[in-house]
Symmetry: C2
Subunit: 488 residues, 2 copies
């Protein structure tokens, strides 16, 4: 079965598409740029969602739901926002169909034209801040710490499952605060929540940093980002948390009476993470045999395969192991399909990234042993049946840790310091990855580098070091290095 997918070295992009398809994660749909998230892919997203949702609630946030549609005029209220967001959108112009007077089907009823067009939300700052105006009068109404789980539509020209689709699923937090400091603290808090989910759950190391002015969210004063590195050396923006200043409060006239009875504009943040994380997960861990899943997100953590077939004593043993593992919170599948050979099943579960496979053979059982194969390293061991439950529970932890460590080593090996533009281009086209380089701090230089190389500044890293240097393009002075990369 592994022969069915393209290898990374042959064609990385096709390798990714092959995994998405063969592991049953997503499918194309009849609507341009929109994917169908298949049950196995959705189960992974549900787990990411649950991990994020728990952390949002632990940090005092509540969920709510705002309308899918945004009146067209709202989008142009915040000047920068409209430039960044109000363009490639799905526009609802009518609210009725009618039987086609000249044929079989249905046509748009011209008499049902909307007075004002509605935009399918590309992000919800505008409709939410229009609502917050009614909810906030006094400092006693603050902070508002609200998140929503929703679908989003941005009319993308080039799409790729999970990484960039016209419709995608996400969460968007929208918070309102009485002070700048509190809003800033919130933006940082969520930046850290995203980091913990990516590293501790997805096993995907990320670099925390701030976006340059040019790469900021349209309408934000600061955008904090986490940047991951894919195996082809391209960066993936995995989540962003924005300090919005008073921009949306001013655009939607949201004021409050402070403790001194003085009227002030409200301070805001917004933050989002999307189904793109599933794409990042795939591209961080998977190999030429298929998907590799961190145990924390695997819909099936352990699969038990009878060898060569489901004999009664093997089934009995399998059910014993299943019961013991289930009691420890491990999700187990026993594959009793007698029509498929073990080798076929092995390849299938490898393709689906199941972290641990247990092979139960008659002879091994007789000698008190079971075969345990781990997906991450593909090692296979015969271990004593006695004590195997503890072994497996520990092995799941070890796999989770190993995947993160492995990805982190790859990422760390792919951060290269360069001090000239020639070197910059050489690393970019060869080794790839993040390039740590000096930049003169201007938008012009940033755009020029992008034009010449397609690389962008992924972030000004939080752990940047003060170090006087010269911009790789202009030679002008620079106080610290920033991280460049080609990105998804």
């Amino acid at each position: 079965m592994s022969k069915e997918i393209t290898s990374r070295s042959e064609n990385y992009s096709q390798w990714y598409l092959d995994i998405v398809q063969k592991a049953g994660l997503a499918d194309n749909s009849a609507v341009r740029g929109c994917m169908v998230i298949k049950p196995y892919g959705y189960a992974i997203w549900e787990k990411i969602k649950a991990e994020m949702d728990r952390r949002f609630k632990e940090t005092g946030h509540v969920n709510a739901y705002f309308p899918l549609f945004i009146p067209k005029s709202f989008l142009s209220r915040e000047a920068k926002h409209v430039e960044g967001f109000a363009k490639e959108c799905a526009v609802v112009t009518h609210h009725r169909l009618m039987n086609d007077p000249n044929g079989d089907g249905v046509v748009v009823d011209p008499s049902a034209k909307l007075e004002e067009e509605l935009i399918v939300r590309p992000t919800s700052e505008t409709i939410i801040w229009n609502t917050y105006r009614d909810w906030i009068q006094s400092y006693r109404d603050l902070p508002l710490l609200i998140n929503q789980w929703a679908n989003i539509v941005r009319w993308e020209m080039r799409t790729r499952p999970f990484l960039r689709t016209t419709e995608f699923l996400w969460q968007e937090g929208h918070t309102a605060h009485a002070t700048k400091e509190e809003a800033m603290e919130e933006a940082h808090k969520i930046h850290e929540v995203y980091t913990r989910v990516c590293e501790d759950v997805i096993g995907m190391p990320v670099i925390k940093g701030a976006k340059t002015e040019n790469e900021r969210f349209a309408g934000a004063d600061e955008t904090y980002t986490i940047e991951a590195l894919m195996q082809d050396g391209r960066a993936l923006q995995a989540g962003t948390s924005h300090f919005l200043g008073q921009n949306f409060a001013k655009a939607f006239d949201v004021k409050f009476l402070n403790q001194n009875n003085k009227e002030e504009y409200v301070w805001a943040t917004s933050w989002g993470a999307t189904t793109r994380l599933v794409g990042g997960l795939i591209m961080t861990h998977s190999d030429d045999s298929g998907l590799v899943l961190p145990p924390a997100l695997a819909p099936i953590q352990v699969v038990i395969v009878p060898i060569p077939k489901p004999l009664p004593e093997i089934i009995e043993k399998a059910e014993e192991i299943e019961a013991a593992l289930t009691a420890k919170g491990v999700s187990v599948k026993i594959d009793l399909d007698a029509k498929k050979r073990p080798g076929f099943k092995f390849a299938e579960y490898e393709m689906k990234g199941v972290p641990i496979r247990i092979g139960l053979g008659k002879r091994d059982l007789a000698s008190g042993q079971i075969e345990v194969a781990r997906r991450d390293t593909k090692e296979k061991n015969l271990i004593p049946s006695e004590g195997s439950i503890e072994y497996i529970v520990n092995l799941l932890d070890e796999i989770q840790n190993n995947l993160f460590k492995r990805a982190k080593k790859f990422r760390d090996d792919h951060i290269t310091k360069v001090d000239s533009f020639d070197e910059f281009k050489e690393v970019l086209e060869g080794k790839g990855g993040f390039i740590s380089a000096h930049w003169d701090g201007t938008v012009e230089t940033e755009l020029k580098i992008k034009e010449l190389t397609k690389a962008t500044i992924r972030c000004i890293p939080n752990d940047k070091v003060d170090e006087a240097g010269q911009c790789i393009l202009t030679g002008k002075p620079s106080p610290y290095r920033v991280l460049f990369a080609k990105a998804y």
Copy 2:
């Protein structure tokens, strides 16, 4: 605070709107017919969702996600479906906005007109069955037991929060089967899952039955429904499960090879329940003091209010109770706000429907007592502090049971047998509720009764009794009684 809401006897409809607003469940939005679900209302929906989702998974279903948009032509593939669903829809005609050449804002870019319009899903049978065609080849691919949690848009003329909104949230199950029997069994299985959630979780008694041909889902061969009764004597359809026969398989050409290697069309079901359940919950239990929540769905199950204010020894006791209850899985809030009087807080938590309120007063504590008030009956008791944890845990169960019993008694008291059309009209306009009456089985009679009285046949109940009778309108023979009511 209770004075702030209209009483049921004065204006039932306004009473409902008052509760939705004052309990903080939902708000109007800037988009016609679309509501904002506020955090407290959304927390209730999240709990309903979790209870349903768990039961779907326990019965072998998996979640997936299909596109928001449906190509216009899909809607007219299934002949009956188009009549029922393809009309009042949000239609996307363009995919880009541009700066208004004559002004400040943005306008639709006329060059970005879609070749084929996209419809915002009013239900997803068409796009899902178009996908199933690629997923189903052989009997080995069946059954497909898929559910999705999604937002839905139907352009409603008259809307009311939760009960009928242009956009709403729901789950929609779409299953595919090799045989008619299996599909029928599935439709009944979900009918029972819905019943259990309504009765055991929401505490809302329902009558199980089948819809008449006229009231069936557009494209279904059978629609099974659960019908609840609201306090104003109107019925509420709370969930439907459809046996779709081979209608959608034929419309989208979904065939499979059966075990005898013969090609057959696939059998289908679909089923949905929506945020409307929150409306049903409100109208089943609430009273003139506000919302009444069954403990199983209450975001806060127990609130502790210090009397008259949060003294240190009272806070200590409150935290002790909170810790003990939390350990038993009870959600507790301690209200330490020193700026609000206890009486104000009492009214506030009454309005929000918190099932149990504990009042902690200094003198009571000294004598080893705490005050426990239950929201359902408004009874207030001084109970010994010793053993209070068990008392409260049991009381939550008792409240859950009492709410169901009380609602069931009301419902049972409002099923009236009538044998003449005069009596029918009299009960309908006076007592209200379900009317059990004979009907001649024709669509014509059903529509005539609706036209004359606004009552519809809610269902042919599962527990109908064979009993020869005469149709109340036409006098023609009838084999059993059906249930009529005015409905939401």
